[in-house]
Amino acid sequence: MEWIIIGAIAFLTGITASMGLGGGFILVIYLTVFAQIPQLAAQGINLVFFLPIAAVSLFFHAKNRMIEKSVILPSVLFGAVGVLIGVWAANALGSEWLSKLFAGFILLVGIRELVMAFKTPKKNEEMEDKPEPEIEIKELSE
């Protein structure tokens, strides 16, 4: 039974993570609430879990030409600095306080997602095949 639950959780996490919906939250919630793993260790497991998931997703997204390459370099460079600060803060807080902060954050994210889901029309506008704004063209004209 436990394997079925683990499989289902991982499957849901994989789908939502590959779509950039923040799927890692689901796995961290399962690990801390049900598997009783400390917050920092749960986050560590989620990071390891996410790496191959992201690599697989990225492969398919690149194949489908879904990646906007021009934004990656500055985001990744400054992202690395952000990671250093985030990891330092996580260790400074410790698992107990971190779990409360995590809960507060995902509560806000969940409420926002819920509101957005009801606000958007039935045929979700963001997923409709409306013409894409051509950033490359805009850049060339600048």
Partner: protein, 119 residues
């Protein structure tokens, strides 16, 4: 790309990096809406967010490992179905509306947040 544009995406990466390091997850919830706000099409924003978060997660994982907060073997149990879900999710992204998935996701994390706050 102009400097202003670079700074914009740099700031976006910085915030998502902090979240990634702090919570080991969640960069996407900032990156996706911001990329959309910056004029990138929704589907591309979802896909591009992975390309931004993957390097951040790699650095986070190394730092978690260095701090003794990472058990490589514990993650393996979740990988087979997780990878299957990732493959399906990535393939479906081009074809489906994610409205119901988002709704389910929102309800799951709200329930999880309440459980953590009151446990």
């Amino acid at each position: 790309m102009k400097w202003k544009e670079k700074f914009k995406y740099g700031a976006l990466g910085f915030v998502s990096g902090i979240l990634n390091g702090l919570f080991g997850a969640g960069g996407g919830v900032v990156v996706v809406p911001m990329l959309e706000k910056f004029g990138i099409h929704a589907k591309k924003a979802h896909a591009t967010s992975i390309a931004i978060i993957l390097p951040a997660s790699l650095i986070s994982a190394v730092l978690y490992f260095a701090n003794g907060n990472l058990d490589l073997m514990s993650a393996t149990a979740y990988l087979p179905t997780g990878l299957l879900g990732a493959g399906i999710g990535a393939l479906l992204l081009k074809k489906i509306t994610v409205r119901w998935l988002k709704l389910l996701f929102a309800l799951v994390i709200i329930a999880g947040a309440v459980r953590i706050l009151f446990q």
